[in-house]
């Protein structure tokens, strides 16, 4: 009981404001958008976007002042370490680029309602920012819900579009189901460990490595996260939701929201259950195998580019889960490899997928059907856009020596060093399957004749966003250590 009462005993919680400064700035920005939007006439609605961007930049500046720090506040619920910093920078970068990608889309599609869009986006971002710092089940759960609930609304943002409504409802129902499953697992764990703090749980469960109740609870929690990261067989919502949502929202879900899910997942797995790798690692191995295979195989038959990217992002989640599947009973070296490679994969994936979605947004302005056949001869219409798009697709496919190849290479190496050869082999087969559909779309852009030579006209902000993503991917292509530098240092596990 002493552990449970600990929180109550220290009634006056010391809050380290510097540690939560980025979140505070972001919260300020989102409230500002909410209030100021009320007084803005339609022709000045762009100001919301500027405020949102200012919030993201401000949060990033606040975050820069925290580099190198290790701070704990709210009685250990909120920890700011290099791991948290890394993810927070990722989320802010993704949000910044996403704002660039969205500004013209919103001005053209939902001019009057864009205030709400920015508000919801920032709210979800706030949840993400808290996620990698949350070292307590309750904080983790709150963060996860803060990420998800605004996202449900964002998915249904095209109010008069039936498929957008369907997307939102599907996402909502499955999302709350996942939350319920996870919460159930968490409550059982609390019953056993008598604490919600991840580190305390790890200590309490050390002697209970073969307790079926603990094992079942761990699997429940993992299942909850599996929904969030759209791992098969819990992936059904993703393609429909991505297709129905506004394309920028789909980009947001498939990149930021997924990365946030992974951040939480890594924390829970490595901090709360380090002594239960024999329980969760096989689970992840099966999830990874199913996710890669299902995603890739179904992607083969898609005709809609957004659905293709949806299935591709499912498959990519499989590669990210894979390293977690090889650590069962392994030493710190293998665990470190696995952890670092999963982290690097998430980072690289985020940028290349965001780039791919940016290209889809650019083309979708003129071709709202988002059919793959719309991309035929893109090279002749918009050479720069087509080359960037092909580059992102080849990178997603893992063509050597793109950044995507390095991501896959690190994961593959982790799988081999963990000795899980069957997963490594399955990964190779999946990569080849993936290669087929990615390259096919890229080839359509480059090789086919366009039906006409009409230019698409890419807005400037979107061009900047795409150029930034190309730059990031090129840098990582040439110097893979760029991301690798972060991952080992930010490792959660003591090596």
């Amino acid at each position: 009981m002493t552990i449970a009462l600990h929180v109550l005993a220290t009634a006056t919680v010391q809050v380290d404001l510097h540690a939560i400064a980025p979140e505070v700035v972001l919260a300020g920005a989102l409230l500002a958008v909410l209030v100021i939007d009320l007084f803005l006439p339609d022709r000045f609605k762009e100001i919301n976007g500027a405020i949102a961007m200012a919030g993201v930049v401000g949060a990033a500046i606040a975050l820069v002042t925290l580099i190198g720090e290790h701070r704990t506040t709210f009685n250990g619920m909120f920890v700011l370490d290099s791991y948290a910093l890394l993810f927070k920078f990722l989320f802010l970068a993704v949000a910044g680029v996403l704002l660039l990608m969205t500004v013209d889309y919103l001005n053209e599609e939902v001019r009057g309602a864009q205030g709400e869009f920015y508000f919801l986006l920032l709210a979800s971002l706030l949840g993400m920012m808290v996620m990698p710092s949350a070292r307590d089940m309750i904080a983790l759960f709150i963060a996860l819900e803060t990420v998800s609930i605004p996202a449900f609304v964002l998915a249904g943002f095209k109010k008069r579009d039936a498929s957008s409504n369907e997307a939102a409802i599907k996402f909502f129902l499955i999302g709350v189901l996942a939350s319920a499953v996870m919460l159930f697992g968490m409550s059982l764990i609390y019953g056993v460990a008598r604490s919600t703090n991840l580190a305390v749980i790890a200590e309490a469960l050390q002697g209970r490595t073969h307790d079926p109740l603990v094992s079942a609870s761990i699997l429940l929690i993992i299942t909850g996260f599996a929904f969030k990261v759209s791992a098969a067989p819990f992936h059904f919502w993703a393609p429909d939701t991505y297709e129905g949502s506004p394309v920028p929202v789909a980009a947001f879900l498939s990149v930021a929201s997924k990365a946030a899910g992974f951040a939480g997942l890594l924390q829970v797995a490595f901090l709360a259950f380090p002594h239960h790798t024999h329980v969760w690692a096989p689970g992840f191995a099966i999830l990874a195998a199913a996710t890669m295979t299902v995603g890739n195989v179904i992607a083969l038959s898609q005709t809609n580019i957004v659905r293709l990217l949806a299935y591709s992002s499912i498959a990519q989640a499989g590669y990210m889960l894979l390293p977690l599947g090889v650590v069962a009973g392994k030493g710190p070296e293998v665990q470190g490899d696995a952890f670092a490679s999963a982290l690097t994969y998430i980072l690289i994936y985020s940028f290349m997928n965001l780039g791919a979605f940016a290209v889809v947004i650019a083309v979708g302005r003129r071709k709202p059907g988002n059919l793959i056949s719309d991309y035929e001869g893109l090279l002749q219409r918009e050479p720069g856009l087509a080359l960037a798009g092909a580059f992102f697709l080849l990178s997603l496919a893992g063509v050597v020596p793109t950044a995507g190849f390095w991501a896959k290479f690190f994961v593959f190496r982790a799988a081999i060093s963990g000795g899980t050869i069957w997963l490594a082999a399955l990964m190779v087969v999946n990569t080849l399957v993936g290669l087929y559909y990615y390259v096919q779309v890229a080839a359509k852009m480059i090789l086919r004749e366009a039906p006409d030579r009409e230019r698409l006209g890419v807005p400037r902000a979107l061009t900047v966003a795409i150029a930034l993503m190309v730059l990031v991917i090129v840098v990582v292509t040439v110097y893979p250590d760029a991301f690798n530098h972060f991952s080992p240092r930010s490792t959660l596990i003591a090596l």
Partner: protein, 509 residues
């Protein structure tokens, strides 16, 4: 010295920078695009000649112009470049041939001609991949350059190719990719079994002398490397991508493919498979020899059946690469020297043959031998004479470049490395000898069908068909000079390679 340290990096990356600049140049600035292409590939050629001049011929077995810095620290992959007597000739061949291809393209651009920018950029990108492959001394770096070649070549064939271009391009792509997956597995296996001061390594030099805990394991790794390299060479029975890719590629695509890309496979055997896995190499050598001899005979027989001039030259490559692999499989200094010489000679001669085939196609708009011939010599006499010269070099006439590689490979097979079955290799030698006769047969027959006889009336009246143009003279003259020079003075190559090869084959003695 700093300059020496970064010299190779400059050679390798100058074309990449050129490709980037071309990509950024507006399409309308044709002259500027041409200038950048010539300048960057010319710079690479110039710098590789500088390397040739500054090379220390007293110690060709030693890596020179080495650069070795940290690259991907987490996996211990390093940016390690260097050349020795084995790789230096390959590097110079690469920069020379690419430069000539760029020159040729300035005037004779394959269709679609409006995409000049992309084509030149791809040639330069290809050059970076090729010269990087010959200079990388780290397995990961090697793999990156090796794969870098795929994408430009794929686009080169599928955009500027002819006939079934997309089919051929994807076939080339998938075949090579399939092989390289196994190659990568082999690299990783060696990495995890290596122990250099308590750490794993990808460094090719450091990996030499690691025994990886037994012949069984080595043999398995060798299988992976074999698949990667053998598909690239290509050895029989992995050669089926080659006639399609060569046949449908644009002229300079075929030149670079035959002249350099194929050598990446044989180079991989010499640089990686043999020195890193010597025990496995001994086990594998008889089988490699057998496949090589099959390739020699099979390639020649296929040539006899071809009606398409480009496909014929492509199949002749299968046979010539067979001689090179036969030399390698003997594991002797003579054999490997012969192989390297053969690589250079084949690069020059077959590169030249593809240039000729391309130029003939450009004029006649057909690749059918019986349609072009007979009597080409009467219509375009200078082109005809050059064709005879290069064709005879290709069949291995003494005094020209093609001779030394073949005859020394056969000689080496007479006396393979200790431990290899003597009688078996002597059988290979006899069969290879039969192959040279067949080679002479198809090549002379080709020359006869094309050049001799009475000119068809429709060609006689065609005023579009002109003889060798000045740009062709310019692009071909160096190659023709090399064909003769290497034929009469083979020491030019052997003096560079022998020291390095002796060092390499010491483990087999």
């Amino acid at each position: 010295m700093t300059f020496d340290k970064w010299l190779l990096s400059l050679v390798v990356f100058a074309p990449l920078v050129g490709a980037g600049l071309i990509a950024m140049t507006p399409r309308a600035r044709k002259d500027l695009i041409h200038f950048v292409a010539v300048a960057s590939s010319g710079l690479a050629l110039l710098l590789s000649i500088v390397a040739l001049a500054r090379f220390d011929y007293g110690s060709t077995g030693k890596m020179q112009f080495e650069a070795n810095t940290s690259w991907i620290s987490t996996i211990g992959a390093r940016y390690h470049m260097g050349v020795d007597g084995i790789s230096l000739p390959m590097l110079v061949l690469t920069t020379l041939l690419t430069f000539l291809c760029v020159l040729y393209t300035l005037k004779i651009m394959p269709k679609p001609r409006d995409k000049r920018k992309g084509f030149l950029a791809l040639i330069l990108l290809l050059e970076t991949g090729m010269s990087g492959t010959f200079t990388a001394l780290d397995l990961v770096l090697f793999f990156v350059f090796w794969e870098l070649v795929l994408v430009p070549m794929y686009f080169m064939i599928s955009i500027w190719g002819s006939e079934r271009k997309e089919y051929s391009a994807i076939k080339f792509f998938l075949y090579t990719l399939f092989g390289s997956v196994f190659m990568l597995l082999g690299f990783l296996a060696m990495y995890f079994r290596s122990d250099v001061g308590g750490a794993h390594t990808f460094d090719m030099i450091a990996l030499q002398g690691q025994h990886f805990g037994g012949v069984g394991f080595q043999n398995l790794v060798f299988l992976g490397l074999f698949l990667g390299f053998a598909i690239k060479v290509p050895m029989w029975p992995f050669h089926t991508w080659l006639p399609d890719a060569h046949g449908d590629a644009p002229t300079v695509g075929s030149v670079l493919l035959a002249g350099i890309l194929l050598k990446m496979g044989t180079y991989g055997f010499i640089r990686i498979a043999l020195p890193l896995l010597p025990d496995a190499a001994k086990d594998w050598a008889p089988y490699i020899g057998a496949l090589s001899v099959i390739a020699i005979i099979y390639g020649a027989l296929c040539c006899l059946a071809q009606k398409d001039i480009k496909r014929l030259i492509a199949f002749s490559s299968v046979g010539h690469m067979g001689f090179i692999m036969l030399g390698i499989s003997t594991l002797t200094p003579t054999g490997i020297n012969a192989a390297i010489f053969g690589m250079i000679a084949h690069g020059v001669i077959t590169g030249m043959l593809f240039f000729l085939a391309g130029s003939i196609y450009e004029r006649y708009h057909t690749r059918q031998i019986d349609d072009i011939g007979p009597g080409m010599l009467q219509k375009i006499p200078r082109m005809g004479v050059i064709f005879v010269f290069v064709g005879i070099a290709s069949l291995g006439l003494p005094g020209l470049a093609g001779f030394w590689g073949e005859v020394l490979a056969l000689l080496a097979a007479f006396n393979p490395a200790p431990g290899l079955p003597n009688s078996l290799f002597r059988t290979y030698m006899v069969l290879g000898g039969v192959g040279t006769i067949l080679t002479a047969g198809y090549m002379l027959w080709l020359i006869q069908r094309l050049n001799l006889g009475v000119l068809r009336e429709k060609w006689a009246k065609d005023r579009q068909i002109d003889d060798v143009r000045s740009i062709e003279t310019l692009a071909w003259a160096p190659l023709l000079a090399f064909v003769l020079f290497l034929g009469v003075y083979p020491r030019a190559i052997f003096d560079i390679t022998t020291g390095a090869v002796n060092g390499l084959t010491r483990v087999f003695r």
